[in-house]
Symmetry: C2
Subunit: 216 residues, 2 copies
Amino acid sequence: MLPNTSAPLSVEVMTGGQLARRERLTRAVVDLVAESGADSFQMKDVADRSGVALGTAYRYFASKDHLLAVAMSEWQRRLTDRVIADFDRRGVPAVPVVERVLDYTNREIRGFQRHAHFAGLMVRIYTSTDPFASEAMREISRNNSAVMERLLADVPDRPRAIARNAVESVLMHALTTWVTDRCTIADVFERVTATVQYVLAPERLAAATGAGTTTG
Amino acid sequence: MLPNTSAPLSVEVMTGGQLARRERLTRAVVDLVAESGADSFQMKDVADRSGVALGTAYRYFASKDHLLAVAMSEWQRRLTDRVIADFDRRGVPAVPVVERVLDYTNREIRGFQRHAHFAGLMVRIYTSTDPFASEAMREISRNNSAVMERLLADVPDRPRAIARNAVESVLMHALTTWVTDRCTIADVFERVTATVQYVLAPERLAAATGAGTTTG
DNA sequence: GGCGAAACTAGAACACAATTTCATATCTCA
DNA sequence: TGAGATATGAAATTGTGTTCTAGTTTCGCC
């Protein structure tokens, strides 16, 4: 019964009951966030809702931010899973890259628009300095990038990495700006769309393939 | 002596002494942030350091975030002012766009690298939902965009707006990722550089000038 | 040169949640 | 079945932004 000085229980080592408890925690958080946002509930509420004691919750997650980040990760995976599923169903090369990517970014933006509390949460986690939250954010990014890499599979290496980063950046930036009430949701759609079209326009991709100005 | 229910004193209406007091507050905050970051001091410390009573500070700024945001804005303006000054000295068209912009972004990144506490602060303010902090952030963005607009003056409208947004986004995204310990400072330089070169490459700019695939 | 209102000061008091603690109950499995 | 690890529930702790109080200063104005 050491005090809670150590890292949270790692998922690998958990018994079935513990995994279930962990699951109940994250599910409760996802629900609470969906209902009214991450600021509107306390850890106590999470405990009540999940049926896991408050002290116990802290054996599973190092902080509220950590828990929130994992919940965010969960929610986001649901979204990308759907995108991937649709993508697999349709088959790959039917549509040009620009449209494929736009389809994805628009879905993501619509998702955040419909569930604005998750947009707020995303921004919060995006900039959390809690190391465990940060780790969960890495996971989210990886997942996101994986989807993009799939959509960009037939784009040459060099422009692909740049374009992917640019699109992801613009998306996050626009989202942040929207969440903090510095632009409208229409602006978000517009900026992302324009960027995707600009950065992935066929003639530009072709031009970039061999380009290699030294980077310094 | 009404309670502090109302908006903070507006700068326009202040007497000389009040402006001085406000100045002492922001200066104290800039110093404190420079020394050890925004999380390491309390409002009480700001009061002590500035010689302004705590309660009075709250007549000038609605919240700690508000005060921090204004301090950030101040610090950032110093940086951009220097850039603009150098730019004016050299005259405009001497260097190609890509190099002009890279010069600017690299300076900015180096500034944040040298004063990492301000990078942390920027990220904090960037996502603050406090309306007054948000307002100050708008100011920062405007200032930044103004610099970029100057550097991009000879780029045609349509690609200019897109490129500017892309560069700003990638810069903020990379900075955020660095601050939250999800990439190295070298990555930041690299990503921004690659983006600038890609997005502002002369042949691409030319190609984009007339392009207008419908957006809806 | 004194009045009154508004602004300032010092510092105590408050609010509010995250986090920790602990005594007790409950599992788990040899 | 019993020892040790885990979980529970509720209360205690903590840190800090923000507000409040009571006394003091400032300043325009008659």
